[in-house]
Amino acid sequence: MSEKSREFWRWREYRYTMPDMDWHDTKVVTAGVDIGSVGSKAAVMLDGELYSYAAMRTGGESEETAIKVMNWALEETELKTENVPYVVGTGYGRVNVPFAKRTITEIACHARGAHYIYGPTVRTVLDIGGQDCKAIRCDEKGKVMSFLMNDKCAAGTGRGLEVFTDLIRVPIEELGKTSLDVEDEPPPVSNTCVIFAKAESLALLRQGRSKEKVAAAYHLAMVNRIIDLLIKVGIEKDFVVTGGVAKNTGIVSRLERKLGIRPLEPKLDPILAGAVGAALFAKALYEKEIGLR
Protein backbone atom coordinates (compact mmCIF):
# COMPACT_ATOMS: atom_id res chain seq x y z
CA MET A 1 0.00 0.00 0.00
CA SER A 2 1.58 3.28 -1.04
CA GLU A 3 2.20 6.08 1.49
CA LYS A 4 -0.40 8.21 -0.23
CA SER A 5 -3.34 5.84 -0.32
CA ARG A 6 -2.82 4.50 3.19
CA GLU A 7 -5.78 5.40 5.40
CA PHE A 8 -4.20 6.74 8.56
CA TRP A 9 -7.60 7.76 9.91
CA ARG A 10 -8.93 4.20 9.89
CA TRP A 11 -8.73 3.15 13.53
CA ARG A 12 -8.43 -0.47 14.59
CA GLU A 13 -11.70 -2.26 15.33
CA TYR A 14 -11.77 -4.58 18.35
CA ARG A 15 -13.82 -6.80 20.65
CA TYR A 16 -13.34 -8.30 24.10
CA THR A 17 -15.05 -10.72 26.49
CA MET A 18 -14.33 -10.79 30.21
CA PRO A 19 -12.60 -14.15 30.67
CA ASP A 20 -13.72 -14.68 34.28
CA MET A 21 -17.45 -14.09 33.72
CA ASP A 22 -20.14 -16.59 32.72
CA TRP A 23 -23.63 -15.68 31.55
CA HIS A 24 -25.19 -19.03 32.51
CA ASP A 25 -25.56 -18.12 36.16
CA THR A 26 -26.98 -14.60 35.79
CA LYS A 27 -30.48 -13.24 36.23
CA VAL A 28 -30.49 -10.46 33.65
CA VAL A 29 -28.60 -10.31 30.40
CA THR A 30 -28.97 -6.94 28.62
CA ALA A 31 -27.15 -5.07 25.90
CA GLY A 32 -26.69 -1.54 24.61
CA VAL A 33 -25.88 -0.73 21.02
CA ASP A 34 -24.45 2.71 20.27
CA ILE A 35 -24.49 3.55 16.56
CA GLY A 36 -22.40 6.69 16.26
CA SER A 37 -21.69 8.65 13.12
CA VAL A 38 -18.15 7.26 12.94
CA GLY A 39 -18.00 4.31 15.34
CA SER A 40 -20.52 1.71 16.44
CA LYS A 41 -20.26 -0.06 19.79
CA ALA A 42 -22.13 -2.87 21.49
CA ALA A 43 -21.91 -3.74 25.20
CA VAL A 44 -23.39 -6.89 26.77
CA MET A 45 -23.93 -6.82 30.53
CA LEU A 46 -24.64 -9.54 33.06
CA ASP A 47 -26.70 -8.23 35.98
CA GLY A 48 -25.38 -4.79 35.19
CA GLU A 49 -21.72 -5.77 34.93
CA LEU A 50 -19.85 -5.38 31.63
CA TYR A 51 -19.28 -8.80 30.12
CA SER A 52 -18.50 -8.49 26.44
CA TYR A 53 -18.13 -5.68 23.93
CA ALA A 54 -17.12 -4.68 20.41
CA ALA A 55 -16.30 -1.45 18.61
CA MET A 56 -16.18 -1.01 14.84
CA ARG A 57 -16.59 1.67 12.18
CA THR A 58 -20.11 2.65 11.18
CA GLY A 59 -20.65 1.63 7.58
CA GLY A 60 -22.90 3.26 5.04
CA GLU A 61 -25.74 0.97 6.18
CA SER A 62 -26.32 1.52 9.89
CA GLU A 63 -28.86 -1.32 10.32
CA GLU A 64 -26.33 -3.79 8.96
CA THR A 65 -23.67 -2.30 11.22
CA ALA A 66 -25.92 -2.70 14.26
CA ILE A 67 -26.35 -6.41 13.56
CA LYS A 68 -22.63 -6.85 12.83
CA VAL A 69 -21.38 -5.13 15.95
CA MET A 70 -23.87 -6.98 18.16
CA ASN A 71 -22.90 -10.35 16.72
CA TRP A 72 -19.25 -9.51 17.08
CA ALA A 73 -19.71 -8.59 20.73
CA LEU A 74 -21.47 -11.91 21.33
CA GLU A 75 -18.82 -13.93 19.48
CA GLU A 76 -17.01 -16.35 21.79
CA THR A 77 -19.94 -16.16 24.28
CA GLU A 78 -22.27 -18.72 22.67
CA LEU A 79 -24.97 -16.11 23.18
CA LYS A 80 -27.18 -15.09 20.26
CA THR A 81 -28.94 -11.78 19.92
CA GLU A 82 -32.25 -13.49 20.57
CA ASN A 83 -30.89 -14.70 23.94
CA VAL A 84 -30.58 -11.09 25.06
CA PRO A 85 -34.09 -10.20 26.29
CA TYR A 86 -33.67 -6.42 26.32
CA VAL A 87 -31.51 -4.25 24.08
CA VAL A 88 -31.51 -0.45 24.08
CA GLY A 89 -30.29 1.44 21.02
CA THR A 90 -28.52 4.77 21.29
CA GLY A 91 -26.34 7.10 19.23
CA TYR A 92 -26.99 8.81 15.93
CA GLY A 93 -28.34 5.65 14.35
CA ARG A 94 -30.30 4.45 17.38
CA VAL A 95 -33.53 4.17 15.39
CA ASN A 96 -31.80 1.69 13.08
CA VAL A 97 -31.09 -1.01 15.64
CA PRO A 98 -33.64 -3.61 14.52
CA PHE A 99 -33.45 -5.78 17.65
CA ALA A 100 -33.62 -2.88 20.15
CA LYS A 101 -36.82 -2.65 22.22
CA ARG A 102 -36.29 1.02 22.94
CA THR A 103 -34.03 3.92 22.07
CA ILE A 104 -32.51 6.42 24.49
CA THR A 105 -30.34 9.37 23.50
CA GLU A 106 -26.56 9.18 23.71
CA ILE A 107 -26.71 12.15 26.07
CA ALA A 108 -28.48 10.14 28.77
CA CYS A 109 -26.48 7.01 27.96
CA HIS A 110 -23.09 8.68 28.11
CA ALA A 111 -23.91 10.26 31.46
CA ARG A 112 -25.00 6.92 32.86
CA GLY A 113 -22.13 5.06 31.20
CA ALA A 114 -19.64 7.56 32.60
CA HIS A 115 -21.17 7.02 36.01
CA TYR A 116 -20.47 3.27 35.62
CA ILE A 117 -16.99 3.66 34.16
CA TYR A 118 -15.73 6.45 36.42
CA GLY A 119 -17.91 6.17 39.50
CA PRO A 120 -20.55 8.29 41.25
CA THR A 121 -18.36 11.39 41.73
CA VAL A 122 -18.71 12.35 38.05
CA ARG A 123 -20.50 15.69 37.56
CA THR A 124 -19.33 16.83 34.13
CA VAL A 125 -19.03 14.53 31.13
CA LEU A 126 -17.41 15.59 27.89
CA ASP A 127 -18.16 13.29 24.99
CA ILE A 128 -16.20 13.96 21.85
CA GLY A 129 -17.92 11.97 19.15
CA GLY A 130 -17.37 11.56 15.45
CA GLN A 131 -19.16 14.70 14.38
CA ASP A 132 -20.38 16.40 17.50
CA CYS A 133 -19.18 17.21 20.92
CA LYS A 134 -21.36 17.11 24.02
CA ALA A 135 -20.87 18.67 27.42
CA ILE A 136 -23.14 17.04 30.01
CA ARG A 137 -23.79 17.89 33.66
CA CYS A 138 -25.12 15.01 35.74
CA ASP A 139 -25.97 14.09 39.34
CA GLU A 140 -24.63 11.37 41.63
CA LYS A 141 -26.93 8.80 39.98
CA GLY A 142 -25.64 9.59 36.54
CA LYS A 143 -28.84 11.42 35.61
CA VAL A 144 -28.56 14.33 33.15
CA MET A 145 -29.14 17.74 34.70
CA SER A 146 -28.25 19.85 31.65
CA PHE A 147 -26.26 19.48 28.46
CA LEU A 148 -24.96 21.35 25.40
CA MET A 149 -23.85 20.20 21.97
CA ASN A 150 -21.40 22.02 19.73
CA ASP A 151 -22.79 24.00 16.83
CA LYS A 152 -22.13 22.13 13.63
CA CYS A 153 -18.39 22.54 13.73
CA ALA A 154 -16.15 19.55 13.19
CA ALA A 155 -13.05 21.41 14.38
CA GLY A 156 -13.85 19.89 17.77
CA THR A 157 -14.72 16.37 16.66
CA GLY A 158 -13.31 12.99 15.77
CA ARG A 159 -14.05 13.53 12.09
CA GLY A 160 -11.88 16.63 12.18
CA LEU A 161 -9.05 14.56 13.62
CA GLU A 162 -9.48 11.95 10.91
CA VAL A 163 -9.15 14.53 8.18
CA PHE A 164 -6.11 15.95 9.91
CA THR A 165 -4.32 12.70 10.71
CA ASP A 166 -4.56 11.78 7.04
CA LEU A 167 -2.92 15.05 6.15
CA ILE A 168 0.16 14.62 8.33
CA ARG A 169 0.22 10.86 7.70
CA VAL A 170 0.28 9.66 11.28
CA PRO A 171 -1.90 6.74 12.39
CA ILE A 172 -4.80 8.18 14.38
CA GLU A 173 -3.92 6.14 17.47
CA GLU A 174 -0.54 7.91 17.65
CA LEU A 175 -1.83 11.37 16.76
CA GLY A 176 -2.21 12.67 20.31
CA LYS A 177 1.25 11.52 21.32
CA THR A 178 2.73 13.15 18.23
CA SER A 179 1.09 16.45 19.09
CA LEU A 180 2.76 16.45 22.51
CA ASP A 181 6.20 16.03 20.96
CA VAL A 182 6.98 19.77 21.06
CA GLU A 183 9.14 21.84 23.43
CA ASP A 184 6.72 24.79 23.50
CA GLU A 185 3.11 25.16 22.35
CA PRO A 186 2.72 26.92 18.99
CA PRO A 187 -0.24 29.28 18.42
CA PRO A 188 -3.41 27.36 17.50
CA VAL A 189 -4.58 27.19 13.90
CA SER A 190 -6.93 30.13 13.47
CA ASN A 191 -9.58 28.52 11.30
CA THR A 192 -12.58 26.86 12.91
CA CYS A 193 -13.86 25.34 9.66
CA VAL A 194 -12.38 21.85 9.47
CA ILE A 195 -11.51 22.20 5.80
CA PHE A 196 -9.75 25.50 6.28
CA ALA A 197 -8.06 24.28 9.43
CA LYS A 198 -6.70 21.52 7.21
CA ALA A 199 -5.65 24.00 4.54
CA GLU A 200 -3.98 26.15 7.17
CA SER A 201 -2.14 23.15 8.60
CA LEU A 202 -1.00 22.21 5.12
CA ALA A 203 0.33 25.72 4.63
CA LEU A 204 2.25 25.43 7.91
CA LEU A 205 3.74 22.10 6.84
CA ARG A 206 4.80 23.65 3.54
CA GLN A 207 6.48 26.46 5.44
CA GLY A 208 8.61 23.68 6.90
CA ARG A 209 6.99 23.33 10.34
CA SER A 210 7.35 19.84 11.81
CA LYS A 211 4.42 17.43 11.92
CA GLU A 212 4.56 17.65 15.69
CA LYS A 213 4.28 21.44 15.75
CA VAL A 214 1.38 21.47 13.32
CA ALA A 215 -0.36 18.68 15.18
CA ALA A 216 0.05 20.68 18.38
CA ALA A 217 -1.43 23.76 16.72
CA TYR A 218 -4.39 21.75 15.45
CA HIS A 219 -5.04 20.05 18.79
CA LEU A 220 -4.83 23.39 20.56
CA ALA A 221 -7.47 24.91 18.30
CA MET A 222 -9.67 21.88 18.89
CA VAL A 223 -9.21 22.10 22.66
CA ASN A 224 -10.11 25.80 22.64
CA ARG A 225 -13.40 25.05 20.95
CA ILE A 226 -14.17 22.25 23.35
CA ILE A 227 -13.44 24.53 26.29
CA ASP A 228 -15.89 27.14 24.95
CA LEU A 229 -18.55 24.46 25.19
CA LEU A 230 -17.50 23.37 28.70
CA ILE A 231 -17.54 26.95 29.93
CA LYS A 232 -21.05 27.40 28.55
CA VAL A 233 -22.40 24.32 30.30
CA GLY A 234 -20.46 25.21 33.45
CA ILE A 235 -17.80 22.70 34.44
CA GLU A 236 -17.94 21.04 37.88
CA LYS A 237 -15.67 18.31 39.33
CA ASP A 238 -15.32 15.42 38.82
CA PHE A 239 -14.73 15.87 35.14
CA VAL A 240 -14.40 12.98 32.66
CA VAL A 241 -13.97 12.52 28.94
CA THR A 242 -15.77 9.76 27.03
CA GLY A 243 -15.86 8.68 23.40
CA GLY A 244 -13.04 7.70 21.07
CA VAL A 245 -11.15 10.94 21.42
CA ALA A 246 -10.79 10.31 25.16
CA LYS A 247 -7.83 8.12 24.19
CA ASN A 248 -6.12 11.07 22.51
CA THR A 249 -3.58 12.24 25.08
CA GLY A 250 -2.96 15.37 23.01
CA ILE A 251 -6.53 16.48 23.69
CA VAL A 252 -6.94 15.24 27.24
CA SER A 253 -3.67 16.59 28.63
CA ARG A 254 -4.26 19.98 27.01
CA LEU A 255 -7.77 20.10 28.46
CA GLU A 256 -6.25 19.38 31.84
CA ARG A 257 -3.60 22.08 31.42
CA LYS A 258 -6.10 24.75 30.29
CA LEU A 259 -8.90 23.92 32.73
CA GLY A 260 -6.67 23.16 35.66
CA ILE A 261 -8.86 20.12 36.30
CA ARG A 262 -7.52 16.61 35.94
CA PRO A 263 -9.98 14.30 34.19
CA LEU A 264 -10.47 11.01 36.07
CA GLU A 265 -8.68 7.92 34.80
CA PRO A 266 -11.09 5.48 33.13
CA LYS A 267 -11.42 1.97 34.57
CA LEU A 268 -12.73 0.78 31.21
CA ASP A 269 -12.48 1.78 27.59
CA PRO A 270 -14.30 5.17 27.58
CA ILE A 271 -15.45 4.65 23.99
CA LEU A 272 -18.00 2.23 25.48
CA ALA A 273 -19.71 4.79 27.72
CA GLY A 274 -22.74 5.17 25.43
CA ALA A 275 -23.25 1.45 24.90
CA VAL A 276 -22.75 0.65 28.59
CA GLY A 277 -25.23 3.35 29.60
CA ALA A 278 -27.73 1.92 27.15
CA ALA A 279 -27.23 -1.59 28.53
CA LEU A 280 -27.82 -0.32 32.07
CA PHE A 281 -31.05 1.37 30.99
CA ALA A 282 -31.95 -1.91 29.29
CA LYS A 283 -31.52 -3.68 32.60
CA ALA A 284 -33.84 -1.28 34.41
CA LEU A 285 -36.39 -1.51 31.61
CA TYR A 286 -36.26 -5.28 31.57
CA GLU A 287 -36.66 -5.51 35.32
CA LYS A 288 -39.72 -3.26 35.04
CA GLU A 289 -41.05 -5.46 32.27
CA ILE A 290 -40.78 -8.67 34.31
CA GLY A 291 -41.91 -6.93 37.47
CA LEU A 292 -38.58 -7.06 39.28
CA ARG A 293 -38.86 -3.34 40.09
Binding site: S62, Y92, N96, I195
Partner: protein
Amino acid sequence: MITAGVDVGAKYAKIVLLEDAKNILANAKGIVGFDILKSATEVFQKALDNTSLKRDQIVHVVATGMGRKAIHMKPPINAGEIVPEVIADAKGAYHLIPTVKTVIDVGAEEGRGVKVGENGKVRDFVINERCAAGAGTFMETMARALEVGVEEMGPLALKSTKAIPMNAQCCVFAESEVVTLIHSKTSKEDISKAIHDAMAGRIASMVLRVGVEKDVALIGGVAQNPGFLPPLEKELNTEILVPEHPQYVGALGAALLALEMEAK
Protein backbone atom coordinates in the same frame (compact mmCIF):
# COMPACT_ATOMS: atom_id res chain seq x y z
CA MET B 1 8.80 30.77 -29.27
CA ILE B 2 8.14 28.34 -26.42
CA THR B 3 6.75 29.50 -23.07
CA ALA B 4 5.53 27.64 -19.99
CA GLY B 5 2.74 28.16 -17.49
CA VAL B 6 2.87 26.59 -14.06
CA ASP B 7 -0.25 26.47 -11.91
CA VAL B 8 0.65 25.40 -8.40
CA GLY B 9 -2.73 24.65 -6.84
CA ALA B 10 -3.64 23.52 -3.34
CA LYS B 11 -3.55 19.89 -4.41
CA TYR B 12 -2.04 19.53 -7.90
CA ALA B 13 0.63 21.34 -9.86
CA LYS B 14 -0.26 21.75 -13.54
CA ILE B 15 2.18 22.59 -16.32
CA VAL B 16 1.56 23.68 -19.90
CA LEU B 17 4.31 24.06 -22.49
CA LEU B 18 3.16 26.32 -25.30
CA GLU B 19 4.47 27.21 -28.70
CA ASP B 20 3.45 30.58 -30.16
CA ALA B 21 0.03 30.68 -28.55
CA LYS B 22 -0.98 27.97 -30.99
CA ASN B 23 0.00 24.45 -30.12
CA ILE B 24 0.30 22.98 -26.69
CA LEU B 25 3.45 20.89 -26.70
CA ALA B 26 2.77 19.20 -23.40
CA ASN B 27 0.75 19.32 -20.24
CA ALA B 28 1.51 17.44 -17.07
CA LYS B 29 0.25 17.39 -13.53
CA GLY B 30 1.30 15.99 -10.18
CA ILE B 31 0.38 16.14 -6.52
CA VAL B 32 1.87 18.99 -4.49
CA GLY B 33 3.57 17.65 -1.38
CA PHE B 34 4.91 19.52 1.63
CA ASP B 35 7.84 20.78 -0.47
CA ILE B 36 6.18 22.83 -3.19
CA LEU B 37 9.33 23.58 -5.19
CA LYS B 38 10.29 19.92 -5.26
CA SER B 39 6.84 18.75 -6.35
CA ALA B 40 6.52 21.46 -8.99
CA THR B 41 10.00 20.70 -10.32
CA GLU B 42 9.14 17.02 -10.71
CA VAL B 43 6.06 17.85 -12.76
CA PHE B 44 7.99 20.40 -14.76
CA GLN B 45 10.61 17.78 -15.55
CA LYS B 46 7.86 15.34 -16.54
CA ALA B 47 6.57 17.89 -19.07
CA LEU B 48 10.08 18.48 -20.43
CA ASP B 49 10.68 14.73 -20.75
CA ASN B 50 7.43 14.28 -22.71
CA THR B 51 8.74 16.77 -25.26
CA SER B 52 12.48 16.14 -24.90
CA LEU B 53 12.87 19.89 -24.45
CA LYS B 54 15.45 21.55 -22.19
CA ARG B 55 14.70 24.31 -19.68
CA ASP B 56 16.78 26.83 -21.62
CA GLN B 57 14.65 26.29 -24.74
CA ILE B 58 11.76 27.80 -22.81
CA VAL B 59 12.08 31.57 -23.05
CA HIS B 60 9.72 32.52 -20.26
CA VAL B 61 7.87 30.80 -17.43
CA VAL B 62 4.91 32.37 -15.59
CA ALA B 63 3.58 30.84 -12.39
CA THR B 64 0.11 31.06 -10.86
CA GLY B 65 -1.85 29.23 -8.14
CA MET B 66 -1.64 29.53 -4.36
CA GLY B 67 1.86 28.03 -4.34
CA ARG B 68 3.23 30.33 -7.06
CA LYS B 69 5.56 32.28 -4.78
CA ALA B 70 7.52 29.11 -3.98
CA ILE B 71 8.84 28.83 -7.53
CA HIS B 72 9.19 32.55 -8.29
CA MET B 73 12.78 33.19 -9.44
CA LYS B 74 13.84 29.85 -8.00
CA PRO B 75 15.88 27.38 -10.07
CA PRO B 76 15.43 25.07 -11.80
CA ILE B 77 12.02 26.35 -12.91
CA ASN B 78 12.89 30.02 -12.47
CA ALA B 79 9.42 31.43 -13.04
CA GLY B 80 10.11 35.02 -14.11
CA GLU B 81 6.66 36.30 -13.25
CA ILE B 82 3.84 35.32 -10.93
CA VAL B 83 0.18 36.18 -11.51
CA PRO B 84 -2.96 35.56 -9.45
CA GLU B 85 -5.23 32.67 -10.45
CA VAL B 86 -8.09 34.83 -11.67
CA ILE B 87 -5.86 36.58 -14.20
CA ALA B 88 -4.49 33.29 -15.54
CA ASP B 89 -7.98 31.73 -15.55
CA ALA B 90 -9.45 34.58 -17.58
CA LYS B 91 -6.57 34.48 -20.05
CA GLY B 92 -6.66 30.74 -20.56
CA ALA B 93 -10.43 30.46 -20.83
CA TYR B 94 -10.58 33.39 -23.24
CA HIS B 95 -7.99 31.71 -25.44
CA LEU B 96 -9.97 28.46 -25.60
CA ILE B 97 -13.42 30.08 -25.81
CA PRO B 98 -13.08 33.59 -27.29
CA THR B 99 -16.79 34.26 -26.61
CA VAL B 100 -16.43 33.61 -22.86
CA LYS B 101 -17.66 36.35 -20.50
CA THR B 102 -17.84 34.44 -17.21
CA VAL B 103 -15.35 31.87 -15.93
CA ILE B 104 -16.10 29.61 -12.98
CA ASP B 105 -13.06 27.88 -11.52
CA VAL B 106 -13.62 25.29 -8.82
CA GLY B 107 -10.43 23.91 -7.34
CA ALA B 108 -9.58 21.85 -4.28
CA GLU B 109 -9.88 24.63 -1.72
CA GLU B 110 -11.16 27.63 -3.62
CA GLY B 111 -14.04 28.49 -5.88
CA ARG B 112 -13.72 31.55 -8.09
CA GLY B 113 -15.93 33.52 -10.42
CA VAL B 114 -14.30 35.79 -13.00
CA LYS B 115 -15.89 38.33 -15.34
CA VAL B 116 -13.80 38.39 -18.51
CA GLY B 117 -13.30 41.57 -20.50
CA GLU B 118 -11.76 42.24 -23.91
CA ASN B 119 -8.64 40.29 -24.72
CA GLY B 120 -9.09 38.06 -21.67
CA LYS B 121 -8.65 40.79 -19.10
CA VAL B 122 -10.29 40.51 -15.66
CA ARG B 123 -13.27 42.84 -15.28
CA ASP B 124 -14.44 41.67 -11.87
CA PHE B 125 -14.01 38.58 -9.75
CA VAL B 126 -15.14 36.83 -6.59
CA ILE B 127 -13.44 34.16 -4.49
CA ASN B 128 -15.19 32.10 -1.82
CA GLU B 129 -14.43 33.29 1.68
CA ARG B 130 -14.00 31.29 4.83
CA CYS B 131 -16.25 28.46 3.72
CA ALA B 132 -14.93 25.50 1.79
CA ALA B 133 -18.40 24.28 0.86
CA GLY B 134 -17.79 25.59 -2.64
CA ALA B 135 -14.62 23.61 -3.28
CA GLY B 136 -13.35 20.19 -4.23
CA THR B 137 -12.31 19.24 -0.72
CA PHE B 138 -15.96 19.54 0.25
CA MET B 139 -16.76 16.75 -2.19
CA GLU B 140 -13.97 14.60 -0.74
CA THR B 141 -15.21 15.03 2.81
CA MET B 142 -18.72 14.14 1.72
CA ALA B 143 -17.41 11.12 -0.21
CA ARG B 144 -15.82 9.86 2.98
CA ALA B 145 -19.03 10.34 4.94
CA LEU B 146 -20.76 8.28 2.25
CA GLU B 147 -17.87 5.81 2.21
CA VAL B 148 -17.53 5.95 -1.57
CA GLY B 149 -14.63 7.10 -3.74
CA VAL B 150 -14.76 10.77 -4.70
CA GLU B 151 -14.73 9.82 -8.40
CA GLU B 152 -17.89 7.73 -7.88
CA MET B 153 -19.83 10.70 -6.54
CA GLY B 154 -20.70 12.30 -9.86
CA PRO B 155 -21.92 9.13 -11.57
CA LEU B 156 -23.97 8.27 -8.46
CA ALA B 157 -25.61 11.69 -8.47
CA LEU B 158 -26.58 11.38 -12.11
CA LYS B 159 -28.63 8.28 -11.27
CA SER B 160 -30.94 10.29 -8.97
CA THR B 161 -33.75 12.68 -9.77
CA LYS B 162 -34.73 13.47 -6.19
CA ALA B 163 -34.25 16.97 -4.77
CA ILE B 164 -33.32 17.09 -1.10
CA PRO B 165 -32.61 20.64 0.11
CA MET B 166 -29.38 20.70 2.10
CA ASN B 167 -27.64 23.60 3.75
CA ALA B 168 -24.06 23.85 2.56
CA GLN B 169 -23.21 27.01 4.45
CA CYS B 170 -20.77 24.79 6.30
CA CYS B 171 -19.53 21.54 4.83
CA VAL B 172 -19.52 19.87 8.22
CA PHE B 173 -23.05 20.99 8.93
CA ALA B 174 -23.73 19.44 5.53
CA GLU B 175 -21.92 16.31 6.64
CA SER B 176 -24.20 15.83 9.63
CA GLU B 177 -27.11 16.20 7.25
CA VAL B 178 -25.52 13.53 5.07
CA VAL B 179 -25.10 11.19 8.02
CA THR B 180 -28.71 11.85 9.00
CA LEU B 181 -29.80 10.96 5.49
CA ILE B 182 -27.73 7.78 5.64
CA HIS B 183 -29.40 6.80 8.90
CA SER B 184 -32.82 7.56 7.45
CA LYS B 185 -31.94 5.08 4.68
CA THR B 186 -31.80 7.58 1.82
CA SER B 187 -30.05 6.03 -1.19
CA LYS B 188 -26.45 6.97 -1.91
CA GLU B 189 -27.60 8.21 -5.30
CA ASP B 190 -30.05 10.67 -3.77
CA ILE B 191 -27.59 11.81 -1.12
CA SER B 192 -24.88 12.25 -3.70
CA LYS B 193 -27.23 14.36 -5.78
CA ALA B 194 -28.18 16.44 -2.74
CA ILE B 195 -24.47 17.07 -2.13
CA HIS B 196 -23.86 18.16 -5.70
CA ASP B 197 -26.94 20.37 -5.65
CA ALA B 198 -25.80 21.99 -2.41
CA MET B 199 -22.31 22.59 -3.74
CA ALA B 200 -23.64 23.92 -7.03
CA GLY B 201 -25.93 26.23 -5.08
CA ARG B 202 -22.96 27.44 -3.09
CA ILE B 203 -20.89 28.15 -6.20
CA ALA B 204 -23.85 29.70 -8.00
CA SER B 205 -24.62 32.12 -5.20
CA MET B 206 -20.96 33.14 -5.15
CA VAL B 207 -20.76 33.65 -8.91
CA LEU B 208 -24.05 35.56 -8.90
CA ARG B 209 -22.31 38.25 -6.84
CA VAL B 210 -20.40 39.28 -9.96
CA GLY B 211 -23.27 38.34 -12.24
CA VAL B 212 -23.47 35.72 -14.96
CA GLU B 213 -23.00 36.72 -18.59
CA LYS B 214 -22.88 34.24 -21.51
CA ASP B 215 -20.76 32.46 -22.54
CA VAL B 216 -20.03 30.76 -19.25
CA ALA B 217 -17.11 28.38 -18.82
CA LEU B 218 -16.44 25.94 -15.98
CA ILE B 219 -12.79 25.06 -15.32
CA GLY B 220 -10.69 23.50 -12.55
CA GLY B 221 -10.56 20.01 -11.13
CA VAL B 222 -14.22 19.82 -10.17
CA ALA B 223 -15.21 20.53 -13.79
CA GLN B 224 -14.24 16.91 -14.50
CA ASN B 225 -17.02 15.73 -12.19
CA PRO B 226 -19.99 14.88 -14.46
CA GLY B 227 -22.46 15.22 -11.59
CA PHE B 228 -21.61 18.86 -10.94
CA LEU B 229 -22.44 20.47 -14.29
CA PRO B 230 -26.21 19.78 -14.47
CA PRO B 231 -27.12 21.29 -11.08
CA LEU B 232 -24.85 24.28 -11.73
CA GLU B 233 -26.48 24.91 -15.10
CA LYS B 234 -29.85 24.63 -13.40
CA GLU B 235 -28.92 27.03 -10.58
CA LEU B 236 -27.56 29.66 -12.94
CA ASN B 237 -30.10 28.71 -15.59
CA THR B 238 -27.64 28.99 -18.42
CA GLU B 239 -25.67 26.60 -20.56
CA ILE B 240 -22.12 26.11 -19.33
CA LEU B 241 -19.16 25.18 -21.52
CA VAL B 242 -16.42 22.92 -20.22
CA PRO B 243 -13.18 23.07 -22.22
CA GLU B 244 -11.09 19.98 -22.79
CA HIS B 245 -8.63 19.45 -19.91
CA PRO B 246 -10.39 21.99 -17.65
CA GLN B 247 -7.73 21.51 -15.01
CA TYR B 248 -5.02 23.01 -17.20
CA VAL B 249 -6.74 26.27 -18.14
CA GLY B 250 -4.94 28.26 -15.42
CA ALA B 251 -1.56 26.93 -16.50
CA LEU B 252 -2.40 27.65 -20.13
CA GLY B 253 -3.33 31.21 -19.19
CA ALA B 254 0.00 31.61 -17.42
CA ALA B 255 1.84 30.33 -20.51
CA LEU B 256 -0.05 32.79 -22.70
CA LEU B 257 0.81 35.66 -20.34
CA ALA B 258 4.45 34.56 -20.52
CA LEU B 259 4.24 34.85 -24.28
CA GLU B 260 2.70 38.36 -24.10
CA MET B 261 5.38 39.51 -21.70
CA GLU B 262 8.06 38.29 -24.04
CA ALA B 263 6.38 39.95 -27.00
CA LYS B 264 6.55 43.29 -25.15
